[in-house]
């Protein structure tokens, strides 16, 4: 830590308070607006706090269209995260503990995909999904989301398996446990921290994913929140309701973030240093 004089410490606090306000302002603004009655939203001059608090926007948010968006987002995120965790824990273990000829090359290819812009994959993805009737389905978004999340997830899981001392697995081998049982009963529980990090990161990414969902769904009833809500940006009469739905859509990731902040920050930092 760098020590600082009293004078500069006061200034640092001032700067940090201003920064905190700037970063939180959009979130607080949408939160307060979601409690304003329709008339107050268009009132000039504005007031930051609602003059009259109302829940009518949240009640209206349960209407059919929004429920569809929520349902799709939940199904796609849960399905995508479960598959990502399962496949990355298998592959991470393979890369960390069961190397074969060419392992490094395969790993390099997988990591290299991280730098390719998604837009290059979109056209073939679209043609493939069109061929197999996967457009406008939840499965059609789960599968490519898993593929896109896997490279980073594999790196995280590989690092957590590598950190497990060899002796622990060797003692399990002595007991005659087969390789899959060893992975499931001994290694996987020890790589718990990595799995938690993969779950958190993949759920943020898939919950907020826009690009693929925009390209691979056209029917609003198949869209997740991240795309569906943007269709409503021109419908002025809905503003209060839209604010309420946006708040509801932002809450799950923000709550998870508050609970796991330390875990996420150290995980990102470690992953970055190792990767």
């Amino acid at each position: 830590m760098v020590r600082a004089s009293l004078f500069s410490r006061v200034w640092m606090n001032v700067v940090l308070v201003v920064l905190a306000i700037l970063f939180l302002a959009p979130l607080i603004y949408i939160l307060f607006n979601s409690f304003k009655p329709a008339g107050e939203i268009f009132q000039v001059p504005q007031s930051i706090l609602p003059k009259e608090w109302t829940f009518e926007n949240y009640l209206a948010a349960t209407s059919k269209g929004f429920i569809d968006y929520f349902k799709n987002s939940v199904v796609i995120t849960v399905g995508g995260v479960v598959l990502t965790v399962l496949l990355s824990s298998l592959a991470g273990y393979g890369f960390a503990k069961l190397p074969f000829k060419g392992t490094n090359f395969v790993l390099l290819v997988i990591v290299a995909t991280l730098t390719v812009p998604l837009v290059i994959f979109l056209v073939p993805m679209f043609l493939m999904e069109n061929e197999f009737g996967l457009l406008d389905t939840n499965l059609g978004l789960i599968l490519p989301n898993v593929a896109v999340e896997l490279p980073f997830a594999i790196l995280i899981m590989r690092a957590s398996f590598m950190a497990i001392p060899k002796e622990i697995e060797e003692s399990a081998t002595m007991d005659g446990a087969g390789v899959f049982r060893r992975w499931w009963t001994v290694m996987l529980p020890m790589a718990r921290n990595g799995m938690v990090l993969v779950v958190i990161m993949a759920s943020y990414a898939i919950w907020g994913e826009y690009t693929m969902a925009k390209a691979l769904t056209m029917d609003p009833s198949a869209m997740p929140l991240s795309v569906g809500l943007t269709l409503l940006k021109g419908e002025v009469w809905q503003y209060g309701v839209l604010a309420a739905v946006i708040v509801l859509a932002m809450l799950p990731p923000i709550i998870i973030f508050i609970i796991f902040q330390k875990h996420i920050v150290s995980g990102v930092a470690q992953g970055a240093v190792k990767g």
């Binding site: 905190a20 393979g94 979109l122 056209v123 593929a147 060899k166 508050i258």
Partner: protein, 322 residues
């Protein structure tokens, strides 16, 4: 049963000294089939089907004329799509907009994140609150944040004009932010920076934590304090971190898509149209898959060149000092 187990044990005991560590079934099986393959295969299949195959397929398609609606099959035309792209004024506009966005985004995100990381690295009260506030935009879905910014920038009842006009009394500054090319681009840059700074700050903080306390102490013994210490001791020790944050920021700068898509649709006119968006529109509005693939590949190549350049500049600098 007992005999089988003990024979396995003996076999294991003999093989333990091998350096690669246990590889389970491979050792016990008669043939040496690498079990690792079974663990990696499922994940690899996903990556192959949705990324590696599309990468190759779109590379081929970029050499063809293929309109999804009119043409039955792709027709090979060589590099014509690539030549066409560089004569296409819309594409060149998108390219130059992407670079304008990218340069401002890169400088703002790198400088602000480094500065914020240096601030958060100090012992200040409420440090963890400040961290939460600055990091939280990372987890907010970007398209929804864009909707909120759209609202903030709304000329009549938006937060920004209310704040500038009614709170600060600077009525001459209030304006329809997204109706003017320059302020529209500025708005997109601000949203992107808001969404990215938290993540890059975490990376810089990790780099700062990696500087050994000995280096810092030795510097103080030599009388380096405050800004002097930051500029001559702390910043030069972050070389590896610059490579990392620089790579991340370059990739994200050139991949900008959601912000203009939701906030401006590339407008007014084409003043905020970016390459990613142009590829997207060509593919999914005009269904010109061949041309879209070529433009996507051009973007991919530009990103690759800049990332490699960033890496080598970082390495050469680091090498000189070492």
């Amino acid at each position: 049963m007992v005999t089988t187990t003990s024979s396995i044990r003996t076999a294991k005991a003999v093989q333990t000294p091998e350096p690669e560590g246990p590889s389970g079934g491979a050792r016990r099986g008669k043939r040496k089939f690498p079990v690792g393959v079974l663990f990696i295969l499922p994940a690899f299949l996903f990556i192959f089907v949705f990324m590696l195959y599309p990468l190759v397929s779109s590379g081929y398609m970029s050499l063809t004329e293929y309109n999804f609606v009119y043409d039955d099959t792709p027709k090979f035309i060589g590099l014509d799509n690539y030549f066409a792209a560089f004569q296409d004024t819309q594409f060149m506009t998108a390219l130059s907009n992407t670079f304008v966005f990218g340069i401002f985004y890169f400088v703002i995100v790198m400088v602000a994140s480094l500065a914020i990381a240096l601030l958060l690295f100090q012992k200040v009260r409420f440090n963890s609150f400040y961290r939460s506030a600055i990091f939280v935009p990372i987890v907010v879905p970007l398209s929804l944040a864009a909707l909120v910014f759209l609202w903030i920038l709304q000329p009549n009842y938006g937060l920004l004009n209310y704040f500038l006009g009614d709170v600060l009394g600077l009525h001459f500054l209030t304006q329809p932010w997204l109706s003017n090319g320059t302020t529209a681009m500025g708005s997109i840059i601000v949203l992107s920076a808001w969404a990215s700074i938290g993540f890059v700050t975490i990376l810089f903080l990790a780099g700062l934590q990696g500087i050994s306390p000995d280096t810092l102490e030795a510097a103080e013994m030599d009388g380096a304090r405050g800004l002097k210490k930051i500029f001559f001791i702390v910043l030069p020790s972050l070389r590896e971190t610059y490579i990392l944050t620089g790579t991340w920021t370059i990739i994200h700068a050139l991949k900008v898509f959601v912000e203009p898509m939701v906030m401006t649709d590339g407008g007014p006119g084409t003043s905020t149209l970016v390459v990613y968006q142009q590829v997207y529109l060509t593919a999914f509005t005009y269904f010109d898959m061949g041309y879209a693939s070529a433009m996507g590949y051009i973007l991919g190549l530009i990103i690759l060149i800049l990332v490699v350049l960033n890496f080598f500049i970082g390495r050469i600098r680091a090498g000189k000092d070492a």
